[in-house]
Amino acid sequence: MSADVELDDVSVRFGPFLAVDRASLKIAGGEFFSILGPSGCGKTTLLRTISGFLQPSQGRVRIGGRDMAGLGANKRPTALIFQNLALFPLMTVADNVGYGLRVRGVARAERRRRVDALLQLVALPDQGGSLVSELSGGQKQRVAIARALAVEPQVLLLDEPLSALDLRLRQHMRSELRAIQKRVGITFIYITHDQGEALTMSDRIAVMNRGVIEQVGPGRAVYDDPATAFVASFVGENNCFEGTVVETGDGHAVVETGVGRLSGRRRNGLAVGDRALVFVRPEALRLVSDDAPAPIACELSSSAFEGNATHLFARARQGQPIVVTLSRRDEAGAMAPGQKLGLDYAAHDGLVLPANGHGAD
């Protein structure tokens, strides 16, 4: 059974330090929800508040509609997978997985049956008798997942569980986690500082910065339509040009920047004369032929061929760095460093956001 999780204006303080600042979220039952943010932004703190290790200084946490105030971690329908897994080193894999059942007084035979089923689920069927220290990183990961699922939580909380694994294993575990979530059907709240993880696995993502949730939405929406300058630069690569708004129109704005006049979609609240940032994704930029007029002129510094794409690293006037990603089809043959480039983009691919780092609304 899955449950929805609702954070209502939750703040968490450590003395004078505000680690989570008035976070409000509604996570639906059965959703794979990610919280994405840089290290130290308060993700773990938020997760520990949901799991009951921390009490919010303000606001409410509701799980399945029930107010969790005053309920300790052992009384909540959640299970947490720790950043360092925190497996019990002196117990066997089966004892680790069965710990929650033992606490609940489940009889030995029944416990064994359920542990076996769980080990099957996480693809470790024959490892029940081994010690945790004998397992590889990926296997430990699976044991931690099985141990948490054993208590049949309604919400599974995962604190950067893949960060200790190497790249290949990490990518494999992403799809595996997603598959497990589909199979057990409970709510997953997944914390990560890796936008690739968040984008590939989640139904929805909350982007967090310095304790504040800046945007919530499906991965595509967060990527295509970032609400704040922080989200625009943190989620995916982005080129950023700073300047002053010189013209506003219906849903768009023109900004006078260091490299020239650039236009893009405008979020409400920007007026002529405001400081603003124009964001253009590397893959939205295209090369224009030498004679045509180009809004952005720059000089190539280096390029990196990556098989399906090529990245160009260039510098515009005032040393402004620009990254261009060309797909195989758009590739313009061999280019030498020092070569002059003209760049353009479709108007709706530019995004104008207020420069103060937060949405003006």
Binding site: G72, A73, N74, A79, F82, N84, F88, Y99, R147
Partner: protein, 338 residues
């Protein structure tokens, strides 16, 4: 004589330090790569010779030889110096016989006093060990897992400073504290809790409290060390899986701290069973404790052979007892020293 002692106690350490300093200089000048070399190649044969000799000397002369002497002693009869090594100086069990039967020859009746004192010492030491554990575990857990840095430092100071006072002085202080007109009785009398003073010393309460207090730190530090290395996330993981506090301690914390618990308990038990100052100072006239009896064999009866036998009985019983308990709790010797 003073000259020789001066050479031994001042000259020797200075010479050793000087030797090490010269070696370090020598090695520095030769700029050796100290990686991937055997101990000898890395440190040079003089250091190796010194280490081997020092450790060997320590183990043999300081530990093994005196004990062997004691064992040998215990199997000989008490004789005036003139007859030692003579025809009457034979191997005998009479000292052990005396412990059991109160006579060097007859085995008609048991030596009830000594045997009772012996088992009482073992039993009480065991109780004190358990009591010490009960007192120290929560404190050590708090210091290792819960308290903040400054709290832990303050607690640590409060624990350590009283131990700067030497054992004998502490025992006498306890004597004053628990005496018939001592602080404790005065307070209890004044507050009207009791009508007439309690004989804490005669009832052995003073002794048992003194012994408990004397070895708190010996329990504290191994426990603290073991608990300190436990990842706090494991406690939280157990909590998160629904475990109540007692379950977390019984099945996660204590198994992890088992080596520390075992080394703390064995140390306290051994030290307690062998304690001398506290029983001498805090014991009442009817107190039964084994070490004063052993002490009396040596210095009251002037029977070193019997004293040796008594001491060895105590030592062996303690060792056996500890081994047994370790067996029951499935702790290996190597774990204790971890």
């Amino acid at each position: 004589m003073t000259g020789l002692r001066g050479v031994l106690f001042v000259g020797l350490p200075v010479a050793v330090i000087l030797g090490f300093w010269l070696l370090a200089r020598w090695e520095y000048r030769h700029g050796r790569d100290s990686h991937r070399q055997s101990f000898v190649a890395r440190n040079g044969w003089p250091v190796v010779a010194f280490v081997v000799a020092a450790v060997g000397f320590w183990a043999l002369v300081m530990i093994v030889l005196p004990q062997l002497y004691m064992v040998d002693f215990s199997f000989h009869p008490k004789l005036p110096p003139s007859q030692r090594g003579g025809p009457r100086d034979v191997y005998t069990l009479e000292n052990y016989r005396y412990f059991l039967f109160g006579s060097t020859r007859s085995t008609a009746s048991w030596n009830v006093t000594h045997i009772t004192a012996f088992w009482l010492t073992i039993a009480v030491s065991m109780c004190i060990t358990v009591l010490n554990f009960v007192i120290c575990y929560p404190l050590a857990y708090f210091m290792a897992q819960v308290g903040t840095g400054s709290q832990v430092r303050k607690l640590m100071l409060l624990l350590i400073i009283p131990y700067w006072v030497n054992e004998l002085l502490r025992a006498f202080a306890f004597n004053i504290l628990f005496g018939t007109s001592g602080v404790l009785n005065v307070i209890l009398l004044c507050t009207g809790v009791i009508a007439s003073p309690i004989d804490f010393i005669g009832q052995d309460i003073a002794l048992y409290s003194g012994l408990t207090y004397a070895y708190l730190l010996v329990m504290m530090f191994p426990l603290y060390n073991a608990l300190e290395s436990l990842d706090h996330n494991q406690i939280e993981a157990a909590r998160d899986l629904g475990a109540p506090w007692w379950h977390v301690h019984l099945h996660v914390v204590m198994p992890f701290a088992k080596p520390g618990i075992a080394s703390g308990c064995t140390l306290v038990f051994m030290l307690c069973a062998g304690a001398l100052a506290a029983p001498l100072v805090l014991g009442g006239p009817k107190t039964l404790w084994f070490t004063p009896i052993v002490y009396d064999r040596f210095y009251q009866a002037f029977n070193w052979n019997q004293g040796a036998a008594y001491a060895i009985v105590l030592l062996l019983t303690c060792i056996l007892f500890v081994m047994m308990v370790m067996r029951v709790f499935r702790v290996s010797l190597s774990e204790i020293t971890r």
